[in-house]
């Protein structure tokens, strides 16, 4: 935790704002710190458990401080393979999940930005019909269409493939709507200026629309990456082989009903490793898109 800076308001100003009292700041900080502790403690405890041996974990109480088996546990999980999921290593799971999450995030962005582009900037027959078709799918969650989708995937032989994991989750009404709303704010004069300047539809998209959408793309990427990373139901259905599992599914499979049957230390390691990539994406991308939001270029 940072140095005791309790008297300095979060904005960084060294003076109190009007109507602020020192007591108020203490109370506010106490509440905030309490909130952080409540949220962070389970994660910390998971980390602690991931550094102890299975025997220590199974013999309560679990110590509050990290143990000495950090390197062994993480090495075993990452490269050795976990028995209950057929000896597949967590590294494989991480690769799988990264491919799936990236595929879903990028695929959704590409498809939705293109469909929003078509709907907003082109006049074609049944334009509004297509818009409403996309819009209506918002009301159909994945679960509702899961059986037909599964059948299609089986027929296409896409079970246990990355394509099968990614493709059905790629269409996104939400992202399409988001891009549509953003595109609608682009002044018509800008479009016309580009036309006069000799930019065809593709050039306009590439040179003007994409650069202006950077912030939106970054924000969506963060959201969609995490959405892809945490997918549960669809990967559960469409993967049978252990080495095609995503980390969330594998984590579930690692846990047995019988406590003694479960390699808890490896489960904890896997949990910790499953958290890291989304956090990384949020932390890295957040800086990027906050900067984008601050200097809006409109």
């Amino acid at each position: 935790m940072a140095e005791p800076k309790a008297l300095v308001p979060a904005s960084g100003h060294d003076k109190l704002m009007i109507g602020q009292s020192i007591a108020g700041i203490y109370v506010a900080h106490a509440i905030l710190i309490l909130g952080i502790v409540i949220v962070a403690f389970p994660i910390y405890y998971t980390f602690v458990a991931s550094t102890h041996s299975l025997q220590t974990i199974l013999r309560p109480p679990l110590p509050l401080l990290p143990g000495d088996r950090f390197v062994e546990n993480y090495y075993e999980a990452l490269f050795g393979g976990v028995g209950r999921i057929g000896g597949v290593s967590v590294a494989t799971l991480l690769v799988n999940t990264t491919i799936v999450a990236l595929g879903i995030a990028i695929g959704k962005i590409v498809i939705s930005i293109l469909s929003a582009y078509a709907i907003v900037f082109f006049r074609f027959p049944f334009r509004m019909v297509f818009f409403w078709l996309i819009f209506i799918t918002l009301m159909l969650p994945v679960e509702v269409r899961i059986l037909p989708t599964y059948k299609v995937m089986v027929d296409l032989g896409l079970i246990d493939t990355y394509t099968g994991l990614i493709l059905p989750l790629i269409a996104s009404a939400t992202a399409t709507l988001l891009f549509r709303q953003f595109f609608l704010t682009i002044p018509g004069e800008l479009v016309e200026a580009a036309r006069v300047d000799g930019a065809g539809p593709w050039r306009f998209f590439k040179d003007i629309l994409l650069p202006l959408s950077r912030t939106n793309i970054a924000a969506l990427f963060v959201i969609l990456f995490i959405y892809g990373w945490t997918q549960y139901l669809w990967p559960l259905l469409v993967t049978n082989r252990n080495d095609m599992n995503t980390i969330v599914i594998a984590l579930k499979k690692m846990i047995s009903f019988a406590d003694a049957d479960t390699e808890w230390h490896l489960v904890m390691v896997t949990s910790m490793l499953a958290i890291v990539p989304p956090i990384l994406v949020v932390v890295l991308m957040q800086r990027w898109f906050v900067r984008g939001l601050v200097d809006t270029e409109k």
Partner: protein, 348 residues
């Protein structure tokens, strides 16, 4: 360079609204043609049809003798300056100006040369590396102009380019646009709703109303001989005084000259009014008594807002005035300064 010819051009929108109802204008080479009119008169639609941004429902538009009805905006070789400048917000000034050239496949060093030359003309050299949001309104306006000039097109199209600037800057840019246009000798079409801009810029002035051309000609000709009450009240600031004639008579008139035809309206400009009783001003003309309702001293001149002849009139007097609100004032307008309009609003 190029002429622009419009022949009976019409625009009917999908909903059946007819925005332009048959307009024919011939703009000679190197001329600056100003389309002026109130909002909704079809002037912007007409400009956009010349640009190729709107389809032409009927009639023909030719640039340089070639009918361009079916030609896209890119191939028409026109450049347009938009009301909100429409600069690409994510591009530097340099790239904003170079974009159109690059899209046409011009070699890099040629693009660079052209952009720098244009930037020099417009005194934009020190801004080339900035982005539009780092510029003031006037600077953005210049960049928008630069983007048009750098292309060296056949025709410039201006869509109310000065309406987002403050009054002082507007005056400056007006002079600058005029001299640039002269210097470059590019045929231009300029849309505005500001009659001052229209008067000062135009070689050919087109006054539009309700999708039709009300009057077309040299600015001062239009000023001196407005073709209708609409033009009379639109061109000139403050506008021409128009008073209704009933059975050839005017209320409050002391003397009324012979009335042309069966005019229904008599008009005279505020600056053509003389103030003074019978003895002070003499000659044939309209003489009427007015009651002063408001006085606006502007410095070099003063405007007297009066009730007279069954309507409201404005009288311009030079310099300061001693007239007070409530005064009864004898007004005189010479016979040759009077305008008569028929019951259909047309000049008689």
């Amino acid at each position: 360079m190029a002429t622009v010819d419009l022949k009976d051009v019409r625009k009917v929108y999908a909903g059946g609204v007819e925005a332009v109802k048959g307009v024919s204008i011939a703009i000679p080479d190197k001329a600056l043609c100003v389309l002026v009119g109130p909002s909704g008169c079809g002037k912007s639609t007409l400009l956009r049809m010349i640009a190729g941004l709107e389809t032409i429902s009927a009639g023909t538009c030719s640039i340089d003798g070639k009918v361009v009805n079916a030609v896209g905006p890119t191939e028409r070789d026109i450049a347009m300056v938009f009301q909100n400048y429409a600069l690409y917000p994510h591009m530097k000034v340099y790239d904003n100006m170079a974009y159109g050239l690059r899209n046409r496949g011009m070699p890099k060093d040629e693009v660079d040369k052209r952009v720098r030359t244009t930037a020099k003309t417009l005194e934009l050299e020190h801004l080339l590396e900035r982005r539009p949001r780092e510029l003031s309104g006037g600077q953005r306006q210049r960049v928008a102009m630069g983007r048009a000039i750098v292309r060296n097109p056949k025709v410039f199209l201006f869509d109310e380019p000065l309406s987002n600037l403050d009054a002082k800057l507007r005056g400056q840019m007006r002079v600058e646009i005029k001299s640039l246009q002269r210097q470059l000798g590019v045929t231009s079409v300029y849309v505005t709703h500001d009659q001052l801009e229209a008067m000062t810029l135009a070689d050919v002035l087109v006054v539009m109303n309700g999708g039709l051309v009300e009057q077309l000609g040299a600015p001062l000709d239009i000023y001196e001989k407005p073709a209708s009450t609409f033009v009379a009240s639109f061109i000139g600031a403050p506008p021409m005084n128009l008073l209704p004639l009933r059975g050839g008579q005017l209320v409050d008139a002391v003397t009324l000259p012979e009335i042309a035809g069966n005019a229904a309206t008599i008009g005279f400009r505020p600056e053509d009014c003389e103030v003074g009783a019978d003895g002070a001003v003499s000659g044939d003309g309209l003489r009427l008594m007015a009651r002063v309702e408001g006085v606006e001293p502007v410095g070099a001149e003063s405007f007297l807002y009066c009730a007279a002849g069954g309507g409201k009139i404005v009288v311009r007097v030079a310099g300061r005035t001693e007239v007070l609100v409530g005064d009864q004032l004898p007004i005189f307008a010479r016979r040759e300064k009077l305008h008569f309009f028929g019951s259909d609003g047309k000049r008689v």
